[in-house]
């Protein structure tokens, strides 16, 4: 290898994705002593967008731009504490789902059934039987029911994908149809009102002015970040998604891990269902409709690779906030939901095109 080539390789090295992701807050120079220093600075600003922090910065800028637009067009109605809390409350439910989905997508999978699982869990935890039991003992019965349903559906997905070798797209498509259908059967397509005062009192409360829903979202996001970036589980997720064969030959139980990822997402759907039930004080088979699209969109514009092997929780959270803020701004300006969808679509395309260009430039 000749010297100029070597320089070229080294120059790209710092720009490479993924490599920085895991190192988290540590500055880029920390692990690369001596000789590499001067050259790695060469690329400079052009590389900023390719590092994890840089990509997140881009998203933050997009979010800020959106807020400025909201502030200008909506005035005080937008820049109001109550409105901000509304945005966050709306973002919380889909946010919890998106954090879970980030794991599945990073691990090389996809899940289309998240919305249906949310619906089924919301129904199951608000049936007459569950509510009667909750009233006679504790509201935690409802929590348990929702989590168990979510995890159970995730387990079915996971077993089908990991051991049944069913393509994730198809396995979860079947779950999408099945779970929502089951929710309709159980509820007889009727909305189930929550009559457990303690449940609503706890979950729909405010703590120091912050809604509990938002706190749950924050906690889930923080746990998600820690698990993805700081634990063996997270490292294995990245390995399984990035190169399943290499992961297998390194001794990782790839099938089992894949199954866990879907169970984890199922649990997140259960949590989201509880939040939705608390917010609307109903369980319904129409809850969570099209959540799969919103969640996938948020994960993808956040910077997680749809092909697996790279995931970012921070990106996902900002992605969720971007979409929620967008619909808030549209609503405040009395623009139609249809117009919202068009803009959403444009944002997704723009974000993915940008990502691909950055990815190809780092690899060639």
């Amino acid at each position: 290898m000749s010297e100029p080539e070597l320089t070229a390789v080294v120059g790209r090295a710092t720009a490479s994705p993924g490599a920085r992701e895991d190192t988290g807050p540590s500055p880029s120079g920390a692990g690369s002593p001596g000789g590499q220093g001067p050259r790695s600075r060469a690329g400079g600003a052009a590389q900023v967008l390719r590092t994890a922090a840089g990509r997140n910065l881009g998203l933050v800028v997009a979010l800020v731009v959106l807020c400025v637009v909201g502030g200008v067009t909506g005035g005080d109605r937008f820049a109001d504490v109550a409105n901000v809390l509304t945005i966050l409350r709306l973002a919380a439910v889909i946010g919890v789902v998106s954090v879970g989905l980030t794991f599945v997508i990073t691990g090389g999978g996809i899940d289309l059934s998240v919305g249906a699982i949310v619906a089924l869990a919301s129904i199951w935890c608000t049936t007459l039987a569950t509510q009667t039991m909750a009233n006679s003992s504790t509201w935690l019965v409802m929590v348990f029911a929702a989590l168990a349903v979510g995890a159970g559906c995730g387990l079915v997905n996971g077993v089908l994908v990991a051991y049944g070798k069913v393509v994730p797209f198809i396995a979860t498509l079947a779950m999408l149809a099945g779970a929502r259908g089951l929710a309709e059967i159980i509820s007889n397509r009727r909305t189930q009102i929550v009559n457990v005062p303690s449940f609503v009192a706890v979950l729909d409360a405010d703590v120091l002015g912050v809604p509990v829903l938002v706190i749950i979202f924050a906690v889930v996001a923080v746990i998600g970040w820690v698990v993805l970036n700081r634990t063996t589980f997270g490292r294995r997720t990245v390995a399984v998604g990035g190169n399943p064969e290499a992961a297998r030959l390194a001794g990782i139980r790839v099938q089992r891990h894949t199954m866990y990822l879907y169970v984890l997402l199922g649990l997140c759907c259960g949590v989201a269902a509880l939040m939705l039930v608390a917010r609307t004080t109903t369980g319904s088979s129409t809850h969570g409709t099209l959540y799969e699209l919103d969640a996938i969109a948020a994960v993808v514009i956040g910077g997680t690779l749809l092909s697996g092997g790279r995931g970012t929780i921070v990106g996902t959270v900002i992605g969720v906030l971007i979409f929620t803020t967008l619909s808030n701004v549209f609503t405040l300006n009395n623009l139609s939901v249809s117009a919202q969808s068009v803009v959403k679509g444009l944002i997704i395309v723009a974000a993915v095109l940008l990502q691909q260009r950055l990815a190809t430039r780092t690899r060639t």
Partner: protein, 523 residues
């Protein structure tokens, strides 16, 4: 290469031996160089192909055959070198350009659409049509003609390609190539998916095409096929053409194997310092391990500190044996015991827990997470050691990785760098570091020095020896005879899925191993 009169337009003489030495070169490639980041895939290759000859391209995996035909087919652009077609300089900026001039390539993975019919596949991309409507009847007639040209009138042109046998699919691929007025047909290991009868059939098709003036570049590592079908041979090794234009009839098989596998440089092998204790209990015991259809029952035991070499040509079943005993393939029979414990069939994780490690043949696709850092690649099999209640100790990981990369001299330094940016030799060191960190008892190395430059080779040899001296049992698979002989204490020779010989390395020399490797092949 005697004369170069441009006489390719005259009708070819269909007299055996095909491809008379007098015809002018159809294609000449000179000094072709192709570099990829961190590796020189082709370092100056020459190839001369005449009209109406079967020119064999011979070489081990990784010798540069695929890269060369990708240059020839317009998929890769060479960094240096010139290509002439009938004496005129040409370049192929795209695959279409190569097809236009008359070069068609049939890759190992056939590029057919299974649900389309034979006719539709043959004319895919250049459908016969008027005003956008396909001329189905004319296309079918033309397709029949093309198949007849190869003597395959039995294939129904309306059947979907997916329902045909692999051999017939190959014929369809060739018909598609011919539909482009092909004058040079490149066949990349066409016999790999065929059984013996089908191979004969393929050969008669090739002969028929050659008799019609088509030149064929035939890529294979099966020497007996080359004997049967080839006119001339070019041998590639380590990205250079080590011999060009050898006439098949005058070149003994042994010479070919030596050219393919022989040393181009003298490697220095480290001294065996300690003899493995002959009485020690074997740490790896393989009894009658078998995967039906891939290799016959193999028994093998390796003691701590011993290096066992598996020699043989590509396709002899060596990698399959190693992968099966590692649990990456399910065995159809036999047992594997590590340290006295029987391993569950098909479980890699159990082997790794028992202290077995594998550096696989395909480093990039099977071994590494290319976009991840050096540190996380090294600790991938040892994550538990760096975790407290599931939380990773990043500083500890990076410190351990730094120690290992320093002691193995991985360059450039820096454990946060993505593995993709390292050269082949350094990537291999990263993989070795993974198992060093694991303190494994049994290390399986499949082609440990493929795509590795000379300096790093010597370092890897030294490391393997050092590991053995420290009591690790090592199994080395290599196509390079001198590598097996230089590294191993004991050598098993495989041929066509069967272990044909086992003895201490000291009792063998290169010539004997070569004889064993190719025994049965006509010479």
């Amino acid at each position: 290469m005697s004369d170069a009169t441009p006489s390719t337009t005259e009708p070819p003489v269909p007299e055996p031996p095909y491809g008379p030495a007098g015809s002018a070169p159809l294609l000449q490639m000179r000094g072709i160089v192709k570099r990829f980041p961190g590796v020189v895939a082709l370092g100056g290759v020459d190839l001369v192909v005449r009209a109406a000859e079967v020119h064999c391209l011979l070489g081990q995996n990784g010798a540069g055959k695929s890269t060369l035909i990708k240059v020839l087919s317009g998929s890769y652009q060479p960094d240096e070198g010139e290509i002439t077609w009938e004496g005129r300089p040409v370049s192929f900026p795209t695959p279409i350009a190569a097809i236009r001039i008359g070069i068609s390539t049939i890759y190992q993975e056939l590029d057919l659409v299974p649900d389309l019919s034979v006719t539709e596949n043959i004319f895919l991309g250049h459908e016969l049509s008027t005003a956008g409507f396909t001329q189905r009847r004319r296309a079918a007639t033309r397709a029949r003609e093309l198949l007849a040209r190869m003597g395959h009138t039995a294939i129904n042109v309306h059947r979907s390609v997916g329902s045909l046998s692999p051999a017939s699919q190959q014929i369809v691929s060739m018909a598609r190539a011919l539909s482009h007025d092909t004058r040079l047909l490149v066949l990349d290991e066409p016999s790999a998916v065929l059984d013996a009868g089908e191979v004969d059939n393929l050969f008669s098709v090739v002969r028929q095409l050659v008799s019609q003036g088509v030149a064929v570049v035939y890529i294979s590592h099966r020497l007996e096929e080359i004997r049967q079908i080839g006119d001339r041979i070019t041998v590639l090794k380590d990205g250079t053409s080590v011999a060009t234009d050898l006439p098949v009839s005058e070149t003994p098989t042994r010479k070919l194997i030596r050219l393919m596998t022989g040393r181009s440089i003298e490697y220095v092998f480290p001294e065996r310092r300690s003899e493995p204790a002959p009485g020690a209990e074997p740490v790896l015991e393989v009894t009658d391990l078998e995967v039906r259809g891939l290799f016959a029952p193999v028994s093998l035991s390796v003691r701590p500190g011993e290096v066992v070499g598996l020699a043989g040509l590509v396709g002899a079943g060596r990698s399959e044996v190693v992968e099966t005993l590692y649990g990456a393939r399910r065995a159809t029979g036999g047992t594997v015991r590590v340290g006295g414990r029987t391993m569950p069939n098909g479980s890699v994780a159990a082997r790794v827990e028992a202290g077995v490690g594998l550096c696989p043949e395909e480093r990039k696709s099977q071994g590494l997470l290319l976009d991840q850092s050096v540190a996380s690649n090294i600790t991938l099999s040892t994550l538990r050691r760096f975790s407290r209640a599931g939380f990773l100790d990043h500083a500890g990981e990076r410190a351990a990785a730094r120690d290992l990369t320093t002691s193995l001299d991985v360059r450039p330094t820096g454990v946060d760098r993505a593995v993709r940016t390292l050269s082949g030799g350094n990537q291999q060191k990263v993989l070795l570091a993974r198992w060093l960190l694991r303190d494994c008892r049994v290390l399986l190395l499949d082609e440990p020095t493929r795509g590795v430059d000379i300096g790093a080779r010597t370092e890897i040899y030294t490391l393997v020896r050092r590991l053995a001296d420290s009591g690790v049992a090592v199994v080395v698979v290599s196509s390079e005879v001198e590598e097996v002989l230089g590294l191993a204490d004991r050598v098993l020779v495989m041929r066509e899925g069967v272990v044909v010989h086992e003895s201490p390395a000291a009792h063998l020399d290169e010539a004997q191993v070569l004889d064993l490797v190719m025994e049965g092949a006509p010479s």
